[in-house]
Subunit: 435 residues, 2 copies
């Protein structure tokens, strides 16, 4: 290991120095948490540690760490004492250039930057392996929740068939407010912004892009090939009406923004981000507020779930520092689970093939007529149905919601919607039921 040797008490210990790139919310959390729990962290790492540089182009004259702040990556790259990097800048550039330069010099990098991992993960993991160092990204998915390391270590003996969960806290907060307090979407969003849970421009959260990046990372890790956000069907929660949330409750479930990936029978994988109906039987339906939860399905484990705060200063800093400790403790061991780059997306199945029961809401109509159209559709598709259909209405004569009695592909559901429309029944909204 590079780094100075410090004499402490009667025994000689190595000293590991690391740099923090970006002194925003997460980066400052990493520095503060490190100094708060320094003794404990050093015990875990088996050596003394210190933050040597903080990279930020802004100045922080009031910060107790102002002497560590540098405006250029160069001193960090050139300093052989710095063996580990915490990258908390966000965005692809200049983070990508900086991380690449660090890895090229054999400095292990731990990142909270999901955009970077989702876009450049395969390349950076290959570079880290080549340079005999690590590229860690526990903090990029699920904030404080340990998920990356458990997925590729603890569950390594499993054939994992799918992952599904709530990967964005902002939208889960909004949906919880709609469910619990009957707030309209716009009001719940405004409250999330007021509380600092949502950005001024909430697009990345509300439209599902943030959850999409995270499911790309998980898909790549689990199934071994880089999945790009552009190839993942992504639908946000902006169209969810309060009425849908209430009707879902009457049907025995909650509306949640679910990021999922599943392996199809032919081996292709199907990642997607969509609002879904989650039955109260499923623990994910009980995950509220800004909390995230990730359910993993495997042949030996059946299912296992990880729950916690998916974002925030200290939860994310906890994950970054956990990786930094690992990087420092095992400086010459390469742990990172690499995945292959992907030149095309033929290993991905299109959304049309996604199969589940469906939640449908149709405009006010005669329920008997609606049932007839539904059963006509099943007859036309030669699908046998004997399940009892339950429906929900907020009031007599209002819109009707129900869950389809069987699983349908999204393509079949398109046909069902078209047939209903032709028959005079207007489908106002639809979403899959989480299996």
């Amino acid at each position: 290991m590079e780094g100075e040797i410090a004499r402490t008490g009667s025994h000689i210990k190595a000293m590991a120095k690391f740099a923090v790139l970006g002194f925003g919310v997460v980066g400052s959390g990493v520095v503060e948490l490190f100094y708060k729990n320094k003794a404990h962290i050093e015990e875990k790492a088996g050596q003394e540690m210190d933050v040597k540089y903080i990279l930020d182009i802004r100045q922080f004259p009031a910060s107790p760490y102002k002497d560590k702040i540098v405006a250029s990556i160069d001193p960090i790259l050139e300093d052989p004492e710095v063996t580990a990097i915490a990258e908390c800048m966000g965005g692809v550039e200049p983070a990508f250039t900086y991380v690449k330069a660090c890895l090229e010099r054999g400095k292990s990098v731990s990142t909270s930057n999901k955009e970077l991992v989702a876009q450049k993960g395969a390349e950076l993991l290959a570079l880290a392996a080549e340079k005999n160092c690590n590229f860690f990204f526990e903090a990029s998915v699920g904030g404080a929740i340990p998920i990356i390391r458990p997925l590729h270590k603890c569950l390594a003996a499993n054939d994992i068939s799918g992952v599904a969960g709530i990967l964005n806290g902002t939208t889960n907060f909004i949906l919880t407010k709609m469910i619990r307090d009957k707030m309209q979407f716009a009001d719940a969003l405004a409250l999330a912004q007021k509380l600092g849970y949502a950005e001024k421009d909430p697009t990345a959260d509300v439209e599902g892009l943030d959850a999409c990046r995270k499911i790309c990372i998980i898909s790549s890790l689990v199934f071994g090939k880089h999945v790009y956000p552009k190839d993942v069907y992504t639908k946000g929660i902006a169209d969810i009406a309060l009425e849908d949330v209430e009707l879902a409750g009457h049907l025995g479930g909650a509306v949640k923004l679910i990021a999922s990936v599943q392996r199809q029978a032919d081996g292709r994988i199907l990642p997607a981000v969509m609002p879904m109906f989650v039955s109260y039987d499923n623990l994910i339906s009980r995950v509220d507020d800004v909390f995230n939860a990730i359910m993993v399905y495997g042949d030996a484990i059946d299912k296992t779930m990880f729950y916690g705060r998916g974002a925030g200063k200290f939860p994310t800093a906890s994950a970054v520092l956990g990786d930094v400790i690992d990087a420092v403790k095992h400086a010459r061991t390469v742990f990172s689970q690499a995945w292959e780059p992907s030149d095309d997306n033929r290993f991905l199945a299109p959304i049309a093939e996604r199969t589940s029961r469906m939640y449908l809401k149709v405009s006010k109509c005669d329920p008997q007529q609606m049932f007839r159209k539904l059963y006509d559709f099943y007859a036309s598709q030669k699908i046998a149905v004997d399940a009892q259909l339950s429906l929900a209405r907020l009031k007599d004569g209002e819109n009707i919601a129900f869950l389809t009695p069987t699983e349908l592909t999204e393509a079949q559901c398109d046909m069902l919607v078209a047939q209903m429309t032709t028959g005079g029944i207007q489908v106002i909204s639809r979403m899959p039921v989480l299996n």
Copy 2:
């Protein structure tokens, strides 16, 4: 790394051979799961792997693995090709003697044996570190649930203040049947035995001993000093009446057998296993059937929960094999988080100091009289109370259950019970409310 070099295709790969001690439920699960997912496991391990020996004094003439079975540990100890061991025998002896002998020869051991870890963990971890190999025990707590590695790796930057959860699937199944199906304890136990979830002699599960061993392991790992089962207050579920389960429901919670450990203000820790009232607001209340869940509280993470199957052939085998893969992949890196041996139990706080709100059930009486006794007690203790008290009764004139309006220590609760008894109010049952 020791072991033969096998030529496969165009590249040379190492070959790692491991031995399985005990061919019972878990041991046979390890062997079956390994061969089922061999290709995938070898990819994760970065090398070819094989099971070379299975130790069992029984004979298995019909087993496809019968040629691997040996009746003595000696060939395993003497074979330098065997670098990793999966210990699935259960019980302290002869497992302890065998594991010690393996570690002394530098063979890493992965165990599912909670009794062994709870009794001998500190000693075996120290021996592994001395011999530059690993003693892994992910499978000893929470079956398939990744908890040991996340606790000491992913959450390493946290100051962890406590852990609480459902660590025994058998009792959770019994309680779930009581809650959902209004079964009496004895009937639910009989069903659990019929389904193979409970042993013929169900003492270890029902009396909380199994959960106790697991919270000892977690306490030792988190707080760094060996906690012995004999020092942990342990109360099982045999006294839980169906009436308590129903009354708890009326008060907005579920009765669960909770194993917990928390750090007191003075730094001592307080591990305990007791039935508790868990509010529906707490996700743990929603963990049903044989599933386990473990909530971890830390300064940076706030709280994070791990959920899954806590027992069973393949879930446990998954955890054992995950450890074996890690041992094989990083044969010369010592990962195990050691903890100190403990010569006395002065670092443990007694149960009398445990503090929480309390669920109390009193025999039929005049509620006003009962309230007066309760408020007399609070006045005598100079504890201010202004919370609204809600009570539950299955029928008018029946036993009354309520939650105390403030937190009390167990010692204070003893006094409350005594004062009520003196005042003619009989307390039939009590349990803490999970904080």
